[in-house]
Amino acid sequence: MRRLPALVVSGILVLACLLLIGLQAGSPLLYSPRSDPGGADHSNPAALERAREDRAAQVLPLISDLLDSPGSLVLNIKSGDFEYAARDLQEYRQISRSLDTLVINLDMTEGELNEFRNANQQNLAILTELFNGTGRWNELQTLEIRYRDSGDSQMLTTITYEGEALRRRIQDLYRDYLEQDQVMRDTGEKFGLDTTGYGQSVIDFREIVSQIDRDQHEKMTTLQTTGTPGTGPYRLTLGIDRQRVSYMDTVRIEGLLWEHKKDHPDEVDLFIDSRKIGSIPTKPDGSFSYSHLVEHDREGTHTVFAVYSGSVFSEIRTFFVETSGTSLDLKTPSLHNGRVAFEGVLLAGSTPVRFAPIEILAEGKRSGTARTGEDGKFSSDVKLSPGSHKVHAFFSADTSPLAPSESATYEVFVPEPSPGIAGEDGLLANPYYAVILAASLCASGFGAFLYLRRQRVGLSPPIPVFHLPGERAPDGADNENLPDLDDGGTVTGVVPYTGEAEAVDTVPSGDLSSLFSALRMAVARRLAFLYPLSLTPRELCAMCRELPFRAEVCRFTSGYEQVMYSGASVPDDERDMIGSAARSAMEGMGGPDH
């Protein structure tokens, strides 16, 4: 009874705790500066300042690394150590990725940092291309020596022309690299970081461009001196109508094959950026033309030349592709069956941008993608988690002369799915769901059953049975009812447990040992104790401390000890008194509690 108040208080406390946890678990919301509402009344300048400092402390080392990495990379490219340059490039790429991940995880949308990330992404692309371009340039140097030694003037001209395309491309890369210079340096200086390494990379880059420029100029001079293009009976001329073009403009390339035999169909191979774009048939007068649609050409200078029968080369002509601005219009997203539908159009000026990749971003993370159609329109159904989301669309394509653009941001609220089990979207709407639920519950129920069964076998004690000393244990059918032990044996040394009180009555009062044995068995059975034979008289008394007949048992065990262990002779009447205590205890066990 003393425990009842404690149990009640504990129960109330447990229920209160569970209630509190349950209230919070549905929508856990803990205080943090970022989860704090942005109203002026709720601002916590100290906490916000600290959060800002924490974020800056995580981002600054990465920015510092990103300012240092190009220095080592460009230096290795300049010195022709491409193995180390490849390693530097890989490290640079990993650091850039780490910064992107960190910015998204920390939800940092500060303008300056975003600007730095964009400039860094551009630099990464530029330096990757520089690495590949200079690698190819070195290959061309090797090939030039080989062809010059073998006297293969045609191949020599081919690789010289390819070198010219490469030279112009690397010049464009340098120009793009300079465009990022201001942003990179400003960010570094703002955070008090050392920008010497980055400045050195610009100088080294310029030296690479100058070196390639000088080498290529020398090659072209040599080629013109030897007079390879247009020599012999044939001569090939080439012209371009527009030098500066932009997205979806057409570049008209026209040429003439001199000394052309009339009525003899010929074909001229046309190359743009040293890549063959097709064989153009000549007209009867030897002229040919080709219209090139500017769609997937990068921004910058592009080289064009033509080759007749692999031996007659035209001059190199160039055209410049300018970047066009784009506008990405996104309609207000709508909800359909738990998914958010996005629709919009991408235009470059008034021209629709076709087959362009569009990213749908929610909280700055990519949630879905779409591709524009012929008319520049796109649509996408995106599944978003329940709750409020800030979404917008983003376009960026490296393979087109188009500037990146992003749409306006919308706030979308996705409601929680209906929890009704029997509803249209509920679990029972799909029979597979019901099967999965039933299978899982059956499996767990079976597991629970096995657990209970294992416990019962392992822990529940076998039913103790008793017999008086000297009496034979029953055999036959009675033994079959004895429970098996874990090792397959049966409980031995015991007799049926019924009638122990009568058994005690038959024991002579003087045979205290037999009385003790019988009492011990009976008490052990009462308390479900497995090994009664191990009990001493005092242990037997202690075991009965919560039983109503404790006094009788302890009186018997005390007298029993005195008789058995004191060594003194005990009168018969005292022996009878001890025996009567045992009988009283047995009768107590046979009472209402038994």
């Binding site: 946890i21 349950g22 919070q24 678990a25 856990p28 803990l30 943090s32 599944k383 799915p417 679990l427 597979y432 769901y433 999965i436 639920l437 299978a439 899982s440 519950l441 499996a443 767990s444 129920g445 597991g447 629970a448 059953f449 657990y451 209970l452 416990q455 392992g458 822990l459 529940s460 004690p461 479900a528 104790f529 497995l530 090994y531």
Partner: protein
């Protein structure tokens, strides 16, 4: 100290540890909390229970654990259905 007190202390410590980590990780999830509690009580009961005799204070624990296992099955089914519904 009695085994009973040891078991109660161990279970309370385990539950507090789980709660503490959940609060630090800012993800209070009742389902995860329940599963971790179930694991804890299973281990503690296995360690405390005697081969020869079942203490009185553990008499009904196995029923609690069996109910917990069934509830665990329901949680697993719910998670599977959530994944399938995505």
């Amino acid at each position: 100290m009695m085994k009973k007190h040891l078991a109660i202390s161990a279970l309370a410590g385990w539950v507090l540890l789980v709660s503490g980590f959940m609060i630090l990780a800012r993800t209070l999830d009742l389902e995860i909390f329940f599963v971790l509690w179930l694991i804890g009580i299973l281990i503690i009961v296995e360690l405390v229970s005697d081969h020869a005799a079942t203490p009185r204070y553990l008499r009904y624990q196995r029923l609690v654990i069996a109910s917990g296992v069934i509830l665990f099955g329901a949680i697993v089914a719910r998670k599977i259905l959530e994944i399938l519904a995505r």
